[in-house]
């Protein structure tokens, strides 16, 4: 499984871990991992600690998640991006849009 999802007991925290590659092929899996969560104030954590490649469609997918989170007055946190992925996030200046925890 390239996308692993974990939901906390109170349904408030959804953690989504991505495998080695985060690209367009994960589109459906990534969406499935969060779309059913309708919990107000939910926090979505994207764990990128194993991800070594990310393309611009992955950035787009994160923005869709951000839209979803904002509708629930929740937020998105990017967790432990690897150096390669962090470089891509930095170029796209994603820290201006959401929290990135290194």
């Amino acid at each position: 499984m390239s996308v692993t999802q974990h939901i906390s007991d109170n349904c408030k925290e959804i953690s989504i871990a991505i495998d080695e590659r985060f690209d367009f092929s994960l589109h459906q899996q990534f969406r499935d991992a969060y779309i059913k969560c309708e919990e107000q104030g939910a926090q979505f954590v994207i764990d990128l600690s194993k991800t070594h490649y990310m393309d611009s469609s992955a950035l787009g997918m994160i923005l869709l998640l951000k839209d979803h989170a904002e509708k629930l007055s929740g937020n998105v946190i990017i967790n432990r991006p690897t150096d390669a992925v962090n470089k891509i996030l930095e170029i796209a200046q994603f820290h201006r849009l959401m929290t990135i925890e290194r």
Partner: protein
């Protein structure tokens, strides 16, 4: 079923009896049937009739069924004409050979008429599906080609100065998600954009048309770089779905000020190289890609840098640094930087970089679009000359009579914080073209008004000294100070008025600009020697205005200027 629309079947068997039996069954299914009694004859019948179905025996004289099948399949590469072997050879070997020769199925005797008909139906269903997919694919291909043609006509064909700006566009798919635009501002500045839409293919190029239209229209009207960027951001945010956005770097080269303005939103670092191929600076992205946020971030700002002769600005998208070789290594920034340096020293920037990428990747398939824009910072004087054609002085008999009332006049007074609006002159120009229509020489008038307005604002209202520009860091320093003072501006004014006088075969526009400043020492402007005068004036960028105008006069200690611009229609 009418005879004309009936499907054609070709039955191949050396036994006349077998041919007849199969023909009867096929006719019951609505086929028209031709028969051949050996493989060679089957091939020539196939060529002649182009049937929809072939039934093939294996053992035949002259040419056997396998051989005939190979030839027929070679002839029908782009269409699926289903071919079924009919045989009594019930062996694995026969089955394997039949499929390998290109057969789509095999039916072993004996079989009942119903089993035969069922087999024909199933194979026909597959073939119909194949035809449907094929024609859809063809249609899509045609649409895509048309759209691609349209796109490249709208976009690339209208780029400016392609003989001077080096551009590489190597798409990974038929449509490129990357876009390169160049356009000239009315005052001769060059605006360049390299953009990378999310993904590639048709989906990623839908934003290209609105993007290029906005970029060109606003550049042509003389809007400042930050205004162009914010408008494009707003437009893409409204047009595109949330996961589709544009990473882009914008560069505006000011030839007269020897400066570049750079805005990098989500693209790799913008390279500034000197004439020896050394990196002067890399300007990294400091804004999220465009189309992500409804408005630009409040601290969004354009970087300003001085540039010297022989220097270049090079833009790349991530496709080049992420290009892979056969062992999966990426091309990376270091290789690019070396190739660019060598290229600059050899005078072949683009060629050198592309050769290096090719050497590295060998024949690996390209995963992402590869784009480079190479913008030389000097040598534009020749190319820009056409922009400011100085017309022959109009004939002496034309006398501008100021006692005649103008055809129309228009005026604008801006005060305090409203002076921060950078679009004053485009606004004025749009008034003029609203009333008088588009004309090529408005470009000269744009230059005249921009120079005079900027002087009134910078030196009059903001009290900036031109001396700032003479330091080596020059214009960049000046620009920063200007931004600072503009942001704090609470009082002061600039009044601008236009009087338009129509004449028989031309006309005259008198521009008057008055500012709240203290004026300036008019001493240098009263020099006897024309050359000296121009030299002194150049500090205020007035040299060009003088050349373009019939007359230029400073009054009220320099806080009021009146310029008279005259043209003649040929």
């Amino acid at each position: 079923m009418s005879k004309i629309n009936a499907k054609l079947a070709l039955v191949v068997d050396d036994s006349v009896m077998q041919c007849k039996v199969l023909s009867v069954l096929l006719k019951e299914e609505g086929y028209r049937v031709f028969t051949a009694n050996d493989g060679a004859r089957a091939v020539s019948m196939y060529i002649k009739y182009q049937p929809d179905l072939v039934l093939m025996d294996i053992n035949m004289p002259v040419m056997n069924g396998y051989e005939a099948t190979r030839e027929i399949k070679a002839l029908s590469k782009n269409s699926l004409c289903p071919l079924i072997f009919i045989t009594s050879m019930d062996s694995d070997q026969a089955f394997i050979e039949a499929i390998e020769a290109g057969g789509d199925g095999i039916l072993v005797r004996p079989f009942s008429p119903d089993v035969f008909k069922a087999k024909i139906k199933s194979i026909q269903r597959i073939s119909d599906l194949y035809c449907q997919v094929k024609s859809l694919q063809l249609e899509q291909q045609k649409d895509a080609e048309l759209a691609e043609q349209l796109m490249s006509r709208v976009i690339e064909s209208r780029n400016y100065a392609l003989d001077k700006i080096g551009i590489v566009k190597q798409p990974a798919a038929l449509f490129s998600g990357d876009i390169q635009l160049t356009a000239a501002c009315p005052d001769g500045n060059i605006n360049v954009l390299l953009g990378d839409f999310t993904g590639h293919g048709l989906r990623s190029s839908v934003g290209a048309i609105p993007l290029s239209e906005t970029f060109r229209a606003m550049t042509r009207k003389g809007f400042s770089l930050i205004d162009i960027v914010s408008q494009i951001n707003r437009q893409l945010y409204q047009l595109l779905p949330a996961d589709l956005f544009l990473s882009a770097a914008f560069v505006s080269l000011s030839v007269s000020e020897q400066s570049v303005f750079v805005f990098n939103a989500g693209l790799p670092e913008v390279y500034h190289y000197d004439a020896q191929g050394e990196i002067v600076e890399k300007i990294s992205s400091d804004h999220p890609p465009l189309g992500v946020l409804p408005e630009l971030l409040s601290d969004a700002q354009v970087e300003v840098r001085s540039v010297n002769d022989g220097e270049r600005i090079i833009l790349i998208s991530d496709g080049i640094v992420e290009a892979r070789n056969s062992v999966g290594d990426m091309y990376e920034y270091e290789r690019f930087e070396l190739a660019a340096s060598d290229g600059i020293r050899a005078g072949k920037v683009i060629e050198n970089i592309m050769a290096s990428v090719q050497d590295f990747c060998e024949n690996q398939p390209q995963e992402d679009d590869i784009s480079i824009v190479d913008l030389p910072c000097s040598g534009w004087e020749q190319i820009n000359r056409n922009l400011h054609r100085i017309d022959v002085p109009i004939n002496d008999s034309y006398v501008f009579d100021s006692s005649v009332p103008p055809s129309w006049s228009w005026q604008l007074s801006l005060t305090g914080s409203r002076l921060r609006n950078t679009n004053t002159i485009p606004l004025v120009m749009s008034q003029i073209s609203e009333i008088e229509g588009q004309a090529e020489h408005w470009q000269n008038l744009f230059t005249v008004m921009t120079e005079l307005y900027v002087n009134a604002l910078d030196h009059g209202v903001l009290q900036l000294s031109s001396d700032l520009k003479s330091s080596p860091e020059g214009f960049a320093e000046y620009f920063r100070e200007r931004e600072l003072r503009l942001a704090r501006l609470e009082e002061g004014y600039v009044n601008l008025s236009i009087r338009y006088f129509a004449a028989e075969n031309g006309g005259c526009v008198v521009v008057t600009i008055k500012d709240s400043g203290n004026g300036f020492d008019p001493e240098p402007f009263q020099l006897e020697n024309d050359h000296e005068k121009l030299q002194a004036l150049s500090g205020r960028g007035i040299g060009l205005v003088e050349q373009l105008c019939e007359s230029l006069e400073y009054k009220e200690g320099g806080s009021l200027v009146e310029a008279c611009y005259v043209w003649r229609n040929d």
